[in-house]
Amino acid sequence: MNKRKPFPWHVVVFLAPATIVYTAFMIFPLLDSLRFSTFAPGPDRTFTFVGLANYQRLTSDPNWAPFLWNAIKNNFLFFAVHMLVQNPLGLLLAALLSSQITRFKALFRTVLFLPTVLSVVLIGFIWRLILSPIWGISGDFLGLFGLEHLNRPWLGLESTALVTLSLVSVWQWVGIPMLLFLAALVGIPDELIEAARVDGANAWRVFWGIRFPLILPTVGIVGVLTFVGNFNAFDLIYTTQRATAGPNYATDILGTFFFRTFFGMQLQAANPTMGATIAGIMFLIILAGVLLYLFAYQMRLQRIEL
């Protein structure tokens, strides 16, 4: 037998399947798609290298740029609604669920998380029915408060469709920040809170003075997860408003713009290179968000801890 330590083949065997599948079907396509965004269709189904011309076209050509900026603007509004409604609501529900005085906690948790496990396709159709003026459920609901005259075809108006769909998305996904906040709140040692209570602080002061600062890392994680999820969203808009993201592109976000471009639809031929370019822009936006979180937010937290 050889005296040298044998090559650790078992380590290779353990790592190979995951690394190969992940590299072949995730990392390679992501990089290849970025590479492909620097090509344009040439004659005879070939592709020629064009450098960053596609990006220039996408951001300044009058046939493309208005769609891109519209989708980016809508996507930021979509994200803003989630940050302003979903995450504070998730925090409120988590605070109530972690309170000592709350009963039936497991039951509430199960019910409040239910929409999150359902498919976006089903959620989209359910809300399309509920908001449909034909069924009139939204009018009945407003009628409870004597506000029936405010009822609108919420998904049919350019002014309300995007905010309405953002709120439907909030309704579905609020369970995620709720559970992340809940896990963080439950992890806070009781002694800290008891000490503050003894000092005479009320529940409100205890929450904002002690519990909230302690869960700041989770606030950051929820923020970045919301960002990545929102800039990758597609299913809800596609299900309720089709690929054209109507009315008049008022609900078009980057995911639907990307799909329409690379996959094509009735009146628009598929354009894979421009599709890859839109994916490249989405990649840059998501990367910027993640890096901002990693450097700015985490570094600042570390400094506070020191």
Partner: protein, 285 residues
């Protein structure tokens, strides 16, 4: 009652707080449940009753299964269901096996590039695989895999791996080293040791299974792009297309929504404790 026993003499302020807390939770629970309940009860009613009395439970007069009849004659949901089961099941098994093997290697062995490889495998947690769709589609066309369940299985396995490796590595690092050393002294091979460790991280495997399964089962994007043929439709794509075609047949729409939702809701109610415990544990890590 225990609340009062624990905090004696709190008086009205305390009770007002108890009532307000539960009122908010109940109100939001109603908001979360109302749309789902409304769809389910109306799926069992005649068209006239759906519009005439949408908030009533079906009774002898309004009860109707016409929507379900349309669904079963209009679409092959049994086939779509089987496709979803195969895709989700095979991808899930592959993710659990490959990720646990890789996590074991990352947690157990010291080799050059260990940390770097861990980081490389974690990149996919933050960068969505969808952004590579253009190339994935071209690859699948080149491999002749479009309109096969394999195309979905390969993509979903790649999609599930990063988070699975990340969580399982963290758990496997906590398995005491003495145990493995004892097994080595007994002459166990490295593969045997991996199989010895697996049962010890079973709760983490459960967490990962849930995290992996739900997005795969619910996905619309990749079935739409890679496998939209009639033979390979998943439940979600099938429902999406069926709902689009029958959009004005309210009975059929409500029935198909109910059919697509109820299996998930039943599973969720059975496993919700494990699921939520898993999610909260994962978050603490």
């Amino acid at each position: 009652m225990t609340a009062r026993a624990r905090l004696p003499g709190k008086g009205w302020g305390h009770w007002a707080q108890v009532v307000a807390t539960h009122a908010v939770l109940l109100a939001y629970a109603a908001v979360a449940l109302f749309p789902v309940v409304l769809v389910v009860i109306n799926s069992f009613k005649s068209r006239r009753a759906i519009f005439g009395s949408p908030y009533d439970l079906p009774n002898a007069e309004t009860f109707s299964l016409v929507g379900y009849q349309t669904v079963f004659s209009g679409a092959r949901f049994d086939l779509y269901f089987l496709n979803s089961l195969i895709v989700t099941g095979v991808s899930l098994a592959a993710v659990l096996l490959f990720a646990s093997m890789a996590a074991h290697a990352l947690a157990e062995y010291r080799f050059r590039g260990n940390a770097l490889l861990g980081l490389y495998l974690a990149v996919g947690i933050m960068i969505p695989i969808r952004l590579g769709t253009v190339s994935i589609l071209r690859m699948m066309v080149a491999l002749g895999l479009t309109d096969t369940l394999w195309s979905l299985i390969l993509v979903y396995t790649a999609q599930g791996l990063p988070l699975a490796v990340f969580i399982l590595t963290a758990f496997m690092r906590q398995v005491p080293g003495d145990l493995k050393d004892a097994a080595r002294i007994d002459g166990a091979s490295e593969y045997r040791i991996y199989r010895l460790i697996l049962p010890l991280v079973r709760p983490a495997l459960g967490t990962v299974a849930v995290f992996t399964m739900i997005p795969i089962w619910n996905d619309l994007w990749f079935p739409l792009v890679l496998a939209s043929g009639e033979r390979t439709k998943t439940v979600i794509l099938g429902a999406q297309i069926f709902l689009g075609q029958y959009v004005n047949d309210w009975n059929a729409v409500l029935a198909s929504l109910t059919l697509a939702m109820v299996p998930i809701i039943v599973l969720y109610v059975i496993f919700s404790r494990q699921l939520i415990r898993g999610l909260t544990q994962g978050a603490v890590k």
